[in-house]
Amino acid sequence: MTSVPYTERSAKPNGWWGMAVFVATEATLFGTLIGSYYDLRFRTPHWPPPGVPDPKVAVPLVLLAVLVAASVPVQLASVFARAGRVGATQLALLTALVLQSGYLAMQIHLFVDDLNRFSPQDTAYGSIYFTLVGVHHAHVLVGLLLEGWLVLRLFRGITEYRTVGVRATAFYWLAVNVLAIAVTIVQLSPSL
């Protein structure tokens, strides 16, 4: 009777693969949104349409840098979890959570600010702009909830299940970061 405990596992755990497939779905979702953005852009010579201001470049790029920088503690959390270091894992996740929450709060402020200047109900530009950016922010929020839940769960100690949870969340954040770069470039493309 052979027994192979998970510590000697060579393949990625099931939970990681599940997150990988989920990421594939979400990446396709964003690919579709970006494709739609360009389809709508092909149709009109004026993009943004008259009356809609060009997107600002500086602040979104700084925020993007903050988000990407916050990916470092997230990936570190995965390393600490695999080493069994509960406290270090929680600290890394909490650091990321704080940075990313700051990012999201600022982004929501910018979002509301944009809504005051032009509306998704006026033009296709507005519709696709707010949908694309809004869906991205929703994904960031989900990432924050995952980190928060893990920090709380880890107070009961570390198990294989929770380690896989941290690894899967770290992979999710990697994907969100890559998608954030794509979304920001598209969002700012009329001004670039």
Partner: protein, 616 residues
């Protein structure tokens, strides 16, 4: 000291009674739940078909009003595709058979599996609630813009359509995710990638396709709801939108969807043929790869549904070329199947008869399909009954016939009893004749100019006789299906005991009892070919001290980990209920309450993960 089967039964058996079914995470029970639910939807879709055919039996039909016809016709398509074929092949056949064929004790994520089913049920009830309220989807299964806008379709009909299909998509995505991880990680030791059964290759192709095809549909439907309910502009020219964007996104999903419909049927065919031809599949690697190739190339042909939209020929030509390419992998498979049967010692029992019918109908449907790759021909026949003929030969002939054959083939495995062979053969012939009579004349009447989706027609076009024959055929077809179900029902209670392996099948589901025990295999087998049941048995791993199954490496199938599996749980059905309410709130534009139920769903997810399987 209990025996191994007794020990395993104690570990794996679920609660008895209704509560057991509501909280089940056993893939076999979930497969059966899917099976019976999809049969109910099949009956509904079939009644809708018979209503359509009765209305169209003669000119100036008065059976259905135009409004009623629109809903019946749309729901026929939506039901058959989203609520019957896909859940039947993936949810019923896939769920029941995949762990058995892989030598595993369950799917990778058993609770997610249960959630897929309850979400599916919720989405089906949601869609039919609309129909029963007289507000069912009424814009055709692809619901083009501008017909789908508030201006032209002001009631809730298109909202039921959009939200219902997003809801249904959640279930299907969860299922596809589960299948992929199960196929990658839960194979029996020794089952490297090149030793997976062909059915598994088909399921892998289907699941990968679903993962990449469903998001464009979700986005399309979300755009539609945002436009309808929140006044956004995606598809309306006046607001700077693009009407063709709807079609691009829909067909980016829709074309892979039709391969998703047919691939599992090919998987069923490639399971039945070696068993009854008594030889291994010829050119096994080509058949396996052809299944993946069809799925891949299928993503590159979508705009062949848009040849009449006025897009530039320079852009559309890419899709004409790709549409010609996509035929080749299917053709390779057809030749492989025919050679296998001819070079074997075939026994034409009912399952193989259905596969024979499938091949004939698939060739006819495929030939009419390839004709559409030529842009001029497509432009002459778009939106005529010629198209209706093509896709019914493919969907009914090439997707449903293997499902029917598969029902007979695996009936002994699931029930432990044999079906009645003679009546099964009769049922095949009646169904086959009915299919030809119903759908073949549609080619002719389409070339004579009859357009699709018309609720009636006038006399004098030369269409009357053909339509009448089609209606007669539809009732013969219905009779054939009734004979099948009567046979299965009777055999369930009076059939002869089948034993574990009545047909000498080559794959692992035949290596365990009929029906399989709750733990599938007393010993997880070690495998050295895609036909392990035809090989000499090798030593395996017992894993009989906990709720466990084996995980292996992805490419080479080396034993890698002992997985702790979850026991039954009430959270999947609770979560599905919360999501159903969420969709109802979105339908009725109660956004805040919808948000509250989204929050509740989140809390249920937290509770779900509090219980970790390793804790027992």
């Amino acid at each position: 000291m209990r025996s191994r089967p007794e020990r395993l039964e104690l570990i794996w058996a679920e609660r008895p009674g209704l509560l057991g079914w509501l909280t089940t995470v056993d893939h076999k029970r979930i497969g059966l739940l899917y099976f019976f639910t999809t049969l109910v939807f099949f009956a509904a879709g079939g009644i809708e078909a018979l209503l359509i055919r009765t209305q169209l039996a003669g000119p100036n039909g008065k059976v259905l009003s135009p409004e009623a016809f629109d809903q019946v016709m749309t729901m026929h398509g939506v039901t058959m595709i989203f609520l019957f074929v896909i859940p039947m092949t993936t949810g019923a056949f896939g769920n029941y058979l995949l762990p058995l064929m892989l030598g595993a004790r369950d799917m990778a994520f058993p609770r997610l599996n249960a959630l897929s089913y309850w979400l599916f049920l919720g989405s089906g009830v949601f869609l039919y609630a609309g129909l029963l309220m007289g507000k069912g989807p009424n814009c055709g299964w692809f619901c083009y813009t501008p017909l789908n806008t508030k201006e032209y379709d002001p009631g809730l009909n298109a909202d039921f359509y959009a939200l219902g299909l997003i809801f249904n998509g959640l279930s299907t995505t969860a299922g596809a995710l589960n299948f992929i991880v199960t196929i990658f990680k839960l194979r029996a030791p020794g089952m490297s990638f090149n030793r997976m059964p062909l059915f598994v290759f088909a399921m892998l192709a289907v699941s990968l396709s679903l993962v990449f095809a469903l998001p464009p549909l979700t986005i399309d439907l979300a755009f539609l709801e945002l436009q309808r309910q929140a006044g956004f502009h995606f598809f309306d020219v006046a607001g700077g939108g693009d009407p063709l964007l709807w079609q691009h996104l829909f067909w980016l999903f829709g074309h892979p969807e039709v391969y998703i419909i047919i691939l599992p049927a090919m998987g069923i065919a490639t399971s039945i043929i070696p068993t009854f031809a008594k030889r291994k599949m010829i050119a096994f690697p080509l058949v396996a790869l052809a299944e993946l190739l069809v799925a891949f190339i299928g993503f590159g042909v979508w705009a062949h549904h848009m040849f009449t939209t006025g897009l530039p020929v320079g852009a559309l030509i890419f899709f004409a070329a790709a549409s010609m390419m996509v035929v080749i992998p299917s053709t390779i498979q057809i030749y492989a199947w025919l050679f296998t049967v001819n070079l074997g010692r075939p026994e034409f029992r009912a399952p193989l008869l259905f596969i024979g019918g499938f091949i004939a109908l698939f060739v006819i449907g495929g030939l009419s399909g390839i004709m559409f790759a030529a842009i001029p021909f497509d432009q002459a026949t778009t939106d005529t009954y010629f198209v209706v003929a093509h896709f019914h030969f493919i969907i009914f002939g090439a997707a449903v016939f293997p499902i029917l054959g598969g029902m007979y083939y695996w009936f002994p495995k699931v029930t432990g009893r044999m079906y009645h062979e003679r009546w099964a053969q009769v049922s095949f012939w009646v169904t086959f004749v009915g299919t030809m009579l119903t759908f073949f004349p549609m080619h002719i009447v389409g070339l004579l100019g009859m357009t699709r989706r018309v609720y009636t027609y006038h006399s004098g076009f030369g269409w009357d006789a053909y339509n009448f024959v089609e209606t007669v055929g539809a009732f013969i077809l219905a009779a054939g299906l009734l004979i099948i179900f009567a046979n299965l029902l009777w055999s369930r209670f009076r059939g002869a005991p089948s034993g574990p392996d009545p047909f000498y099948g080559g794959t692992l589901e035949w290596a365990t009892s009929s029906p399989p025990p709750s733990y599938n295999f007393a010993v997880i087998p070690t495998v050295s070919s895609p036909y392990p049941n035809w090989d000499r048995a090798e030593a395996g791993v017992a894993l009989d001290h906990g709720h466990e199954t084996a995980a292996t490496t992805v490419r080479d199938g080396r034993l890698d980990e002992v997985l702790k599996m979850p026991a039954e749980s009430g959270w999947p059905i609770v979560l599905a209920f919360a999501v159903t309410i969420l969709f109802i709130m979105l339908l009725t534009a109660h956004v805040v309450v919808a948000g509250i139920f989204a929050g509740i769903a989140g809390l249920v997810l937290v509770a779900w993960h509090v219980h970790e399987p390793a804790e027992g």
